[in-house]
């Protein structure tokens, strides 16, 4: 008996949602059809790799399941001998034009090509011939391109153009000479790339990777003349929880702190502290602009991909950017300035490592200094493995170090889209009205994964209009009115990556929309559990102001915690 909206896949009755592809329906039913170019989210399938071919009864030709619309009564076979033979030959063809350095390749544990080769039982290289021989692109601090490992799946191009709306790389030349790269023969460093790293996250091989700083961190940890400290971004523990069976963000954070100290870090700080600090500065800046007439709207400045975008594509928006540094940079500036006064370093140099879900942070660090190394979430795994540490087995809850150890629930929210806004609104309410936001501090309008959220709030008699964007491909509706001088928004939070930092370019490879949704929920949970809800009540933040900074936007703040921007459009040839 067959149900409505069901088809047969390998003899199993599978339900589908009308409009869904066979690939998607199969995946939800636990039947994985090998695929190398389809992404389960976002972009339209191009059917380029041909791996997902299946037999459809009644059709003489094989069909790509990534484009085949599921229909009632279909009979599909995904692993018949005919299909497997073709699939295997395709993998053999890919291998024939692929380097053979798997043993020393940075993705030898999680390369999708190696995985399908293994699945299909490919045990010899049958086709021999000319292999491609392109130059490596090591030009940028954030990303490394190795076009020789590229299987031309097109995921990076699709993400860069369609999801991020940037289009820094594209297919070049034709046929067997095809390669992916920025225009001309440039390195990515002089292109329009914003280093968001979404391409590295979707790349199935080691063709696109973050520039690893694991070796450098290991060397620093081994250096007897260095004290290495770490700061951890809010999105990181919310992500590491996936595999580590932690019950809360905080417990994951503390277990990570244990692991890091075991490895040799001299101190572990919470970037969330700096998030609270950022709120103090940024909300003060917003209020000043609202009261003195602009420039408005003001954009957040914590997402370095967004900053790159403005500097390279829209330098006219520079006056609208908040002058606040990002939490990573604020934390690092204070770490370098304050921490030596807080603890006797014994003449050793201070090395600051930040743990981020983001590849663009590497560029930000190289431009603004104070941060010595940035490790993406993926690199954290690699680092711990170097020392034989399995985070799942680390159960001891460690400690974070003063004076940058605490973060409010608001600061924790920074890791996801809408988080900065919600934190800002909580503090803005207090600063403008003198009283706290009612209703348990939640700003429901800021929550959720929608690409664009716009809403207004009455804050003590003033109506303020807010906008939130995640994923730069969605900027247009926000920026267009601005170009025409018709925007009525006061404050806009822009996060480069879909979902915010939890969907960042440095996050685990197999993140899908469901993973991102779950991570966001964890951040909300962390906020709920936290007794400290607002940035302005963070005692360590208050102390920094009392002892050093004075008031937000004061002279020392200006010097340590604020930055300027550069018009980079003129830099391209």
């Amino acid at each position: 008996m067959s149900l409505v909206n069901s088809l047969s896949i390998d003899g199993k009755e599978v339900q589908f949602t009308p409009g869904e592809t066979v690939l998607s329906a199969a995946s939800r039913a636990g039947i994985e059809i090998p695929h190398l170019c389809a992404m389960d989210w976002a972009c339209k399938p191009e059917a380029a790799c041909r791996m997902c071919l299946v037999e459809l009864e009644g059709m003489p030709r094989l069909q790509t399941s990534c484009t085949l619309e599921a229909k009632d009564g279909q009979k599909v076979r995904t692993r018949s001998p005919r299909v497997q033979a073709v699939r295997r030959n395709i993998v053999e063809l890919l291998i024939a034009n692929h380097p053979g350095d798997c043993l020393t390749c940075a993705r030898n544990q999680n390369c999708e090509l190696a995985q399908v080769a293994s699945e299909l039982g490919v045990r010899e290289r049958r086709y021999r011939g000319l292999k491609k021989n392109h130059a490596l692109d090591l030009s940028s601090p954030a990303l490394v391109r190795d076009p020789n490992k590229c299987i031309l799946c097109g995921r990076c191009v699709a993400v860069c153009h369609q999801v991020q709306g940037v289009g820094a790389i594209d297919f070049i030349d034709r046929g067997i000479k095809t390669r992916v790269g920025p225009g001309f023969h440039d390195g990515i460093n002089v292109s329009n790339c914003i280093f968001c790293g979404q391409c590295t996250r979707v790349c199935p091989t080691a063709a696109l990777m973050e520039k690893s700083q694991v070796d450098a961190v290991v060397a620093a940890l081994a250096d007897p003349n260095a004290i290495v400290v770490a700061q951890i971004a809010p999105a990181v523990p919310a992500t590491l929880m996936e595999n580590a069976q932690a019950s809360s963000v905080r417990s994951m954070l503390l277990r990570l702190a244990t692991a890091l100290k075991r490895v040799g870090f001299g101190a572990v700080f919470d970037t969330g502290f700096a998030a609270d600090l950022t709120i103090m500065e940024e909300v003060s800046e917003l209020i000043r602009r609202v009261q003195t007439g602009g420039p408005l709207p003001m954009f957040t400045s914590c997402s370095p991909g967004w900053i790159q975008y403005v500097e390279k594509y829209r330098p006219d928006l520079i006056p609208h950017l908040s002058t606040c540094k990002s939490p990573q940079q604020m934390a690092a500036a204070l770490i370098k300035d304050v921490y030596p006064k807080h603890r006797d370093l014994g003449g050793k140099r201070l090395v600051c490592v930040s743990l981020m879900p983001c590849t663009a942070k590497k560029v930000e660090a190289s431009e603004l200094g104070d941060v010595d190394f940035v490790l993406t979430t993926r690199e954290i795994d690699e680092l711990l493995v170097r020392y034989g540490i399995d985070l799942n087995k680390v159960t001891e809850l460690g400690t974070l170090d003063a004076p940058f150890s605490s973060a409010s629930g608001a600061g924790r929210l920074f890791g996801g889209t809408g988080g900065v806004m919600e934190a800002a609104i909580r503090t803005a309410h207090k600063m403008l009205t003198g009283s706290e936001l009612a209703g348990g501090f939640k700003v429901e309008e800021a929550r959720g994964l929608e690409g664009i959220k716009c809403f207004s709030l009455d804050v003590g008699g003033t109506t303020l209009n807010f906008g939130i964007v995640n994923g730069l491909g969605r900027l247009k509706p926000i920026l267009d009115p601005l170009s025409k001088g018709a925007s009525n928004l006061h404050f806009i939070e822009v996060m480069t990556c879909p979902g915010g930092c939890i969907g960042g370019g440095g996050q685990p490879y197999d993140s899908d929309p469901e993973d991102i949704r779950v991570r966001l929920e964890r951040l909300y949970d962390a906020d709920r559990r936290s007794t400290l809800k607002v940035s302005h009540d963070n005692a360590e933040v208050q102390e920094i102001y009392a002892e050093m900074l004075g008031k937000p936007l004061g002279e020392i703040s200006h010097h340590l915690l604020h930055r300027s921007y550069v018009d980079r459009r003129a830099e391209e040839t």
Binding site: E46, A47, L62, L94
Partner: protein, 670 residues
């Protein structure tokens, strides 16, 4: 650009204007006036029509000036004719026409004196044009050594001269698509109108519903002439029945098969009929906008089309409210930029939209969602040129043109090692043998037919024993070839079939768009394998083994590429290899096992031999040899070791006595 004389008003009672189009416009040209009755007007119209049909007044000199005509020097010949006429104070008009199809005998220069039939003279060039002109104009010798035949009836006085269509090359042809090529001036609307252009469009737009038009074309059995052979009427119906406000019609003029130039000839020689075909197609599907996607390598075609479109716009045959109906249609020309894959439907869409010409997965099919996401029909030039004929003469007429179950005619571009090269139009279903021997004249003198390649890079090679196969879609596919666009290249014993496979694979590999893995990587590997067996693996045991291994893989690779590729280019990439393997397996075996090329064409397997009778024993060849393949001592006969020879030929150049020759088995017996 001259205004249309035929469409000009016959008197001030004519109401037609582009802004106020008359639905009887086209009928009126031949049968008019229709809106009023007047003998004088009728006479005016008849005179104009007769003039236009003739091609002009007075003495006319027609010169074949399509691309192949220009390749044969037509531009300079035309200049010389002009100079001659001036020198001799002869009054005559020079008319540039397109290609009559008999490329072997180009240039054709036709002369029509008042009261005389139009006479065709062949094999004209800059070297002999003066002789022709002297004969025809000074000595009045119409019958001379250059005379080929007569166009049309001239009465008893000219009966001794054969009518063109009765000559060997033309008598088995059925000219439908090419009926005006080389005859009618392709540059002016009046000439086309006089030849009947836009009568079918008027009939369709003014008296038929779109559904009726689609079904007439469906009933006629017209199949896509670009290669795939999909029933045209069916494609139109799908688009017609997809409800969207904006639809598009695209004429695929990206004829990329090497050795195919049928579409080019039609576009250069008869552009107005192609436009008419587009108009009818657009009406049938409900498209208001059309594109002609034409190769950049066809600048003359683009020029003729641009002018033709402009002339049609001026008189209201393109634009809004065509012929007084609610139907509006206009055409933009888009030039290809040099990519064979852009002959594929979805690749054209990508290219017109401004991107890389990379095909897209189907479904959705273009007829449902195509250009900019709207329903789009893409038709080949030849397909569209057939449409006015179907509307004018009916589905049954078109059906009966073909032989057996087939419908209509097909234009083939016949070239290669054959006596008569050119464009031939024959009924679909005619035997290959008829085309090659009766029309083509068979192999070149002193040589032997070996194979005919049909369908270009997607097609296959057919040997002598299968020449009784009919040229119909299914029959050719059975033989591992395909109808393709119509390129037909004849090969004789001097052609190496392995090299043919390699040549086409190289072409496909160069033209692969690179999007899908099997085509991009598979064609490269197949090319490497094919190249390796056309070379001798000197001094490299690994390569020797590789050649064998490679050939074993060929079949599997070809099969994977066929099964798994995204578009037709990849899906048919293996055809030349598979077809030559099927019919010429012995040649492959000689290449792989014996390391010999029977036809002598593969340089890498060349066998050189020293003629001991004339060899001086001077050691010069031995010194010149880069691979130490020559043995011999001073004053003793030298020998070439075939196993070490790389076939470079340096020894041949070095030998002072010309004692070293290339040995080829086939050449040896000619």
């Amino acid at each position: 650009m001259q205004a249309s004389n035929l469409i000009a008003a016959c008197c001030n009672r004519c109401t037609h204007r582009p802004g106020n189009p008359c639905r009887d416009l086209v009928r009126c040209l031949a049968e008019g006036p229709i809106c009023h009755s007047d003998d004088a007007c009728a006479k005016t119209r008849q005179e104009r029509m007769a003039n236009a049909r003739r091609g002009g007044q007075g003495t006319l000199i027609f010169v074949g000036a399509g691309t192949c005509g220009r390749a044969n020097g037509s531009t300079k010949v035309i200049a010389r004719i002009g100079a001659f006429l001036q020198e001799h104070k002869i009054s005559a008009e020079i008319v540039e026409v397109g290609c009559v199809g008999y490329c072997q005998r180009e240039l054709f220069v036709d002369v029509q004196k008042p009261g005389e039939p139009r006479l065709a003279y062949a094999d004209i060039n800059l070297g002999n044009i003066d002789q022709l002109l002297e004969a025809v104009f000074v000595r009045e010798e119409m019958r001379n050594g250059f005379l080929y035949g007569r166009h049309g009836d001239g009465g008893a006085a000219w009966a001794d001269i054969p009518e063109i269509n009765t000559t060997d090359f033309f008598k088995k042809q059925v000219k439908v698509v090419l009926r005006n090529a080389g005859i009618v001036d392709p540059r002016i609307l009046d000439a086309a109108l006089a030849a009947g252009a836009f009568a079918a469009a008027a009939k369709a737009v003014c008296t038929m519903t779109p559904e009726e038009v689609c079904n007439e074309v469906l009933a006629a059995g017209l199949r896509g002439r670009g290669g795939a052979g999909f029933p045209t009427g069916q494609k139109w119906n799908i688009a017609r029945q997809t409800p969207r406000a904006q639809k598009y019609l695209i004429c695929n003029a990206d004829e990329g098969d090497p050795g195919a130039f049928m579409d080019r000839a039609v576009l250069e020689s008869d552009p107005f009929f192609v436009i008419e075909g587009m108009l009818i197609a657009a009406y049938a599907i409900g498209a208001s906008k059309g594109y002609i996607y034409c190769r950049a390598e066809y600048p003359l075609a683009v020029e003729r089309l641009t002018s033709a479109i402009e002339q049609c716009r001026r008189v209201g045959l393109l634009g809004t409210n065509i012929l007084g109906s609610l139907f509006s249609f206009d055409i933009t020309i888009k030039q290809g930029a040099g990519a064979f894959v852009c002959g594929e439907e979805t690749a054209i869409l990508a290219s017109i939209e401004g991107g890389r010409g990379m095909p897209r997965p189907r479904p959705p099919y273009p007829a449902v969602s195509g250009l900019f996401g709207k329903p789009t029909v893409l038709n080949n030039v030849e397909t569209l040129a057939n449409v006015p004929v179907i509307i004018n003469r009916g589905a049954e007429y078109f059906q009966n043109l073909g032989l057996g179950k087939a419908a209509g005619t097909k234009v083939f571009a016949l070239s290669g090692a054959i006596r008569n090269t050119g464009l031939v139009e024959v009924p679909v279903g005619i035997k290959l043998r008829t085309i090659i021997y009766d029309i083509g004249g068979g192999a070149l003198p002193g040589h032997k037919f070996k194979a005919v390649q049909i369908g270009g890079p997607s097609g296959g090679c057919i040997p002598e024993q299968h020449l009784d196969t009919v040229t119909d879609y299914a029959d050719l596919i059975q033989l591992g070839a395909m109808m393709g666009s119509g390129g037909m290249v004849v090969m004789d014993e001097r052609t190496c079939m392995v090299d043919v496979a390699r040549y086409f694979m190289e072409f496909i590999r160069n033209e692969s768009c690179g999007k899908c893995t099997p085509c991009r990587e598979g064609t490269t590997r197949m090319l490497e394998i094919l190249t390796s067996i056309t070379e001798r693996p000197v001094g490299d045991e690994e390569r020797r083994l590789e050649r064998f291994r490679g050939v074993l893989h060929l079949q599997e690779l070809a099969s994977t590429v066929k099964e798994a590729s995204l578009c037709g280019l990849g899906q048919s990439a293996g055809n030349p290899v598979l077809s030559t393997l099927r019919f010429f397996r012995d040649e492959y075996e000689r290449h792989v096992i014996d390391q010999r090329c029977p036809s002598g064409e593969c340089q890498g397997l060349a066998v050189y031999e020293v003629d001991n009778a004339t060899c001086l024993g001077c050691l010069l060849c031995k010194k010149a040899c880069p691979s130490g393949a020559i043995v011999g001592e001073r004053k003793q006969a030298h020998y070439i070791l075939v196993d070490k020879c790389v076939g470079c030929g340096s020894c041949v150049t070095a030998c002072p006595k010309h004692s070293i020759h290339l040995v080829s088995e086939e050449r040896a017996c000619v």
